[in-house]
Symmetry: C2
Subunit: 344 residues, 2 copies
């Protein structure tokens, strides 16, 4: 019999048991509010635990009970505000359940996603909320076999593993495209990423292109960027695009932040924003309310997606039917950077 502990000693149930003169089992019951315990015993135990500063060991508890109050939440990044906002929704949806979100980030990299997922699943969470529907085969296999609810959020364009909640970015893009056409714009430029891991931005662009092409309009120019989005990127790209394709009459940014940069630039240059030149961003970031003009944008309803995903994970909400997708409808907010619908 080897006791292998010369490292830092944590208090155990046994310590509380000895200090209070109550069996370990009863101490355990008190600390978890389980079963019937007399008020006297309960008081003794609580006093002892508090006095000693006992912090239970959830590792042992989880192993013994096969229950873990953790929900894995996996997102590409926390630097893009949409993900913290979705996460806020998850916290909201988990409130009062005793479940706790644990966040992992993938950096838009499928292989890192795989590693993070493996790591998180090895803690046996009670559920998984993961951004997007595009995952490596290995990731899909892990998610399919993990035995707990899995909700893919912020996108419904694709086949969910288990359940999916969010807007259709393709249709959101389509809606913007249709609106652009309806308002009589004909030379549309697209500014944003279509490359690497941002499938939602890609789908928005594809939907937009489709709507334009159905209206007989092509994409006049397109420009991608790398790195963090911000006003400076938007300014820069806008300047470049207007220089190389001067007859552009509408600029669609895949992100409000670059859109705001473009808006500021266009206003400074004295361009007829909202008239001859239309602008639109995407996501409807509240923090941007208060720009000189209200940028046209689309509310991607990420917070709601997070909340509903959490509700599904904890069984508060059940998705019925064979198609386990819950499509949220994005709201197009025309702001004042698009001209009125043409009656031509």
């Amino acid at each position: 019999m080897t006791r292998r502990s010369d490292r830092h000693q944590h208090l155990t149930l046994r310590d509380v048991s000895e200090a209070s003169g109550v069996s370990e089992m009863t101490v355990s019951r008190v600390l978890r509010n389980r079963g019937d315990v007399s008020d006297a015993t309960r008081a003794k135990v609580i006093a002892a635990a508090k006095r000693l500063g006992y912090v239970p060991n959830k590792i042992a508890g989880a192993l013994a009970s096969n229950r873990v109050n953790l929900v894995a939440v996996i997102v590409p990044s926390l630097s893009n505000l949409v993900f913290p906002e979705m996460l806020a929704g998850v916290e909201e949806g988990l409130e009062g359940t005793g479940l706790q979100p644990v966040v992992g980030t993938t950096g838009y990299d499928p292989e890192k996603e795989e590693r993070v997922l493996f790591e998180m699943l090895s803690w046996r969470p009670s559920g998984v909320v993961i951004a997007g529907l595009e995952h490596s085969e290995a990731s899909r296999a892990m998610l399919g076999n993990c035995g707990v609810p899995v909700v893919e959020v912020m996108d419904v364009d694709g086949e969910p593993i288990d359940a999916a909640v969010g807007i259709s970015h393709w249709r959101a893009g389509y809606q913007v495209g249709a609106e652009i056409a309806a308002r009589g714009y004909r030379r549309v430029g697209i500014l944003g990423t279509r490359a690497h891991g941002d499938h939602r931005a890609r789908k928005r662009i594809e939907g937009l292109e489709r709507a334009l092409s159905e209206a007989g309009i092509g994409v006049a120019d397109q420009m991608a960027y790398e790195g963090m989005s911000g006003f400076a990127k938007g300014r820069e790209m806008t300047a470049d695009m207007l220089a190389r394709t001067p007859d552009i009459d509408f600029l669609f940014y895949t992100n409000d932040l670059t859109g705001a940069g473009g808006l500021l630039y266009a206003l400074e240059k004295g361009l007829d924003v909202g008239g001859a030149l239309g602008l639109a961003g995407f996501n409807a970031f509240t923090l941007l309310d208060g720009l000189p003009r209200k940028l046209a944008t689309v509310d991607s309803r990420r917070r709601e997606a997070g909340r509903i995903a959490a509700e599904i994970v904890c069984g508060r909400r059940v998705l019925e039917g064979e198609d386990r997708r819950l499509e949220l409808v994005p709201t197009l907010l025309p702001g004042d950077t698009m001209r009125a619908v043409s009656t031509a």
Copy 2:
């Protein structure tokens, strides 16, 4: 003898052991890259694990080994960009160590902080990174007794429990105040929270007030706000303050976002921004690069604080001396919303 498992069955080492004809112990060694295992055995084990889709149970592993590769990171919120940025620094500092950050949010509420901390410590993380130096007595006790490195970040104005890394917000505020005075402004308004849990904002204001008072200047007006900061809040407060205290000549915002709103408002009203009216924000958010004017601000070096905290937690960096505080020096970026230093 009761087997208590009719729920979802996870694979265990035993399954891999049986499938590969190798003892559990050796399987364990292979999967952890520990000890000497022949190449043949290793290959067999890896093949079997992969084929079965085995995901190890870290709960059991952690219990047996008394080792957990988790670092608790506790922040007030993820909606304020400074915290995700700090977190990015933590991830950077943990890279290659096998340690993983686990995030908890407190909503600026000391009691929730206590609960989150208790919850996280009960998973026996290998270290704790926590924002701020102000905690409830119970929280301080838990942190002091948890037996792992604890680093308080983003502030050094106070007594750390174990170690602290960040800027002094008081001194940063003082620096801004000194600069305001040096540039000849005399009627300073403060826009931002000094209330509830945001101690850093409070300290900035206190430092600012001190510098002003040393220069013989009082605070001409002050206004606090609730809820999320954004451009709209900045505009609104600015309008209100200029209306009620028209002779204000400098506006200090505790946050760049409200500052940016104020800047946009002031420019629209045709005010002499950077001349008769000075403006400054705080934090130096990169995403705002590209405003019509470069808002004066202070880089709070939160990413670096996160990185260094992580390095301390994992033992890559050691803080020497009796004062276990590492003070980062904030950079004042005057931008173009303050007039030149007066030579009066």
